[in-house]
Amino acid sequence: MNEWIQAILNVFTNPTFYKSTLTQSTPLILAAMGGVFSETTGVTNIALEGIMLMGAFGGVMGSYFTGNPWYGLALGTFFGLAMAALHAWASIKYGADQIISGTALILLAQGITGFALVELFGQPGSTDLVRSIPLVDLGSFKDVPFFGPIFGNLSPFVYMAFASVIFGWILIYKTKLGLRMRSVGNNPEAADTLGINVYNVRYFGVIMSGLFAALGGAYLSIGELGQFTTNMTNGRGFIALAAMIIGNWNPVGAMSASLLFGAATAFNNQLQSQSILNLSTNTQYIFGMIPYIITLIVVAGFIGKSRAPSADGIPYIKE
């Protein structure tokens, strides 16, 4: 028992736990923000996973062909926007079932990335290594005890993630456009009678979701690893979806939920790395469950009912 307390103590006193929490959360925050944008305007976007994947691939592709990771970032986000545009086109213009459309886009993303991987890089599975976005080096700050190691050199994506939350919150709750987004997401008919172009506002929301989700994906490839591997998003899009719901479709809430999940994952990694508990291999399975169980408990125990925008997922079709 004692060594467990000791181990857990170690985890929480180790700056890496906090840094890891940040890095694990970053893709989730960005993708969840995408979800918030889309669903605030009333379009469910289950395709986050697929958009992330495209973002990740585009990032590497751009960096590979130009040698400049920032162009990679641009290409990645462009791919993300394209995917989102497709989703928007189908579900807004043609009142498509948004969940099927999303599912389809996930398949498309898996197919396209896998296919292009072979066609462009001549090998399946993973691309060559490419230049990735340089870390933000805070110089001497790195030497500040405890905080240095955490914030000393983080990927710019981490800052982007938190910036996107602030940006999202202000846009949605403090601007005219945000007001229109919320109205369109809750009662498009009413917005329409006031001469608001429901379709355009929804296009905006969905397209933005493409931008953010793609950033989240690009982080994984050209932020973390400098290469793309098949299905490297590995379900993060769905976790982000969950985070958005736990966060009650609110940027800050979604961020908190993402952080929670990131922390749970970091905790799991750090705890497994404690030498004082020499664990039998089978316990690894139990450890793997930790993040998901924590999420379940939180959702069931503490979060009240979360309330989707009233018109979320309902196509708006005028006769």
């Binding site: 497709l86 086109w89 189908a90 579900s91 043609y94 009142g95 498509a96 079932d97 948004q98 969940i99 099927i100 459309s101 599912t103 389809a104 886009l105 996930i106 398949l107 498309l108 993303a109 898996q110 197919g111 396209i112 990335t113 896998g114 296919f115 991987l117 072979v118 066609e119 379900g235 769905f238 976790i239 979806l241 969950a242 719901i245 736990i246 089978n282 399975y285 139990i286 793997g288 469950m289 998901y292 169980i293 999420t295 379940l296 959702v299 069931a300 125990g301 979060i303 009240g304 009912k305 979360s306």
Partner: protein, 350 residues
């Protein structure tokens, strides 16, 4: 009634057109990468229907998809989005595999029902967790079912590597008793058509009847359409949410069972594959209508089965995934096609 017929025809036409269009788009891609689409599609068709094996394989792939499709579809009827079919498949399969190893001494008419019940109970219980959490703790089922999927996967990996591992150190369960295995209708080479296909067909009928003809179906739909009115009508929302999830999960669990008792004879590996996730697509393409779901399941299984031959014909496996994506996308956006057709008609008239 005629109206419904008309719609159904319309639906079928749309789906077919979607398939057609996406095949055309994919063909273009193939030409671009210098493959001959005709050859590829010949292979696709041959791979799905060309031989006895193909047809059998196709049916065997379709039957669990029908079940997960029904599972998700039933959830939708109650206004629930069960993303968790995958987890329910796993738990169901594990339980029936476990029971399957115990019933060796029983005659098949006991052991077969037992494994099926085990699978359904497993899936039902697993889904009911999410149902309960929604009904009484207000937890959104999309979150809980996603999380439960992961947990189920870990549990499965654990038991087949530990307590429930077959001798030989490979992560798979011991094989189930012979008396618990579903008989085969016919075998061609190593490919066998198992009687599990009947389970799926039966499920279609049962679910259709439950939805259309029973009090349960009435209450579940009422809760799905308008919980307030349901409560006003003396229908317990909580009870029905849990019940609907449980039924949905039972179907998914049964899908798991069929794989254990009809395909692998044991639990092993990623037995569920993506069939839970496919269930969502299938349910939606099939418009939550049991018949539609059966057709949708067959559509997907045909593509999957044919795709292997396509690979042999030199088409990358990912291109097949792309084709699937496009088909589903077009089915989702069936209005695109509708509009096109209406324009056509207008032009025709003019």
């Amino acid at each position: 009634m005629n109206v419904k017929k008309y719609l159904l025809n319309e639906k079928v036409i749309i789906s077919l057109l979607s398939v057609l269009i996406s095949l055309v788009i994919a063909a273009i891609v193939m030409i671009v990468i210098g493959k001959n689409p005709l050859v590829a599609y010949a292979a696709l068709f041959y791979g799905a229907f060309g031989t006895k094996e193909a047809i059998i394989d196709n049916l065997m792939k379709a039957s669990p998809l029908i079940l997960t499709g029904l599972a998700v579809g039933f959830g939708f009827r109650a206004g629930l989005f069960n993303i968790g079919a995958n987890g329910q498949v796993i738990i169901g399969a594990l339980l029936s595999a476990y029971v399957g190893t115990l019933v060796g001494s029983y005659p098949f008419f006991l052991s077969i029902p037992l494994v099926m019940i085990a699978g359904m109970l497993g899936g039902a219980a697993w889904a009911a967790i999410a149902g309960w959490l929604k009904a009484y703790r207000g937890a959104h089922e999309v979150i809980t079912t996603i999380m439960l999927n992961y947990v189920a996967t870990f549990i499965a990996n654990y038991v087949v590597n530990g307590p429930f591992q077959a001798p030989g150190g490979v992560p798979k369960s011991p094989s189930i008793a012979y008396s618990a295995q579903f008989p085969n209708i016919m075998s061609v080479g190593a490919t066998s058509l198992s009687t599990i296909i009947f389970v799926s067909l039966a499920a279609i009928v049962v679910i259709y009847v439950i939805i259309q003809r029973t009090t349960i179906g009435y209450e579940v739909k009422a809760v799905g359409f308008n919980p307030y009115a349901a409560e006003y009508g003396g229908i317990s929302i909580g009870k029905n949410v849990v019940l609907a999830m449980a039924i949905s999960g039972a179907l998914a669990g049964l899908a798991g069972t069929t794989q254990v008792v009809g395909v692998y004879g044991r639990y092993f590996g990623a037995l569920g594959g993506s069939m839970g996730f496919d269930g969502i697509t299938i349910a939606l393409i099939g418009q939550n209508d049991p018949i539609g779901i059966a057709l949708a399941a067959f559509l997907i299984s045909s593509i999957r089965t044919g795709s292997n031959q396509m690979q042999i014909a030199g088409v990358p496996k990912d291109l097949v995934v792309i084709i699937q994506g496009i088909i589903i996308f077009l089915v989702a956006a069936n209005r695109i096609i509708k509009t096109i057709r209406i324009r056509r008609r207008k032009e025709a008239e003019a």
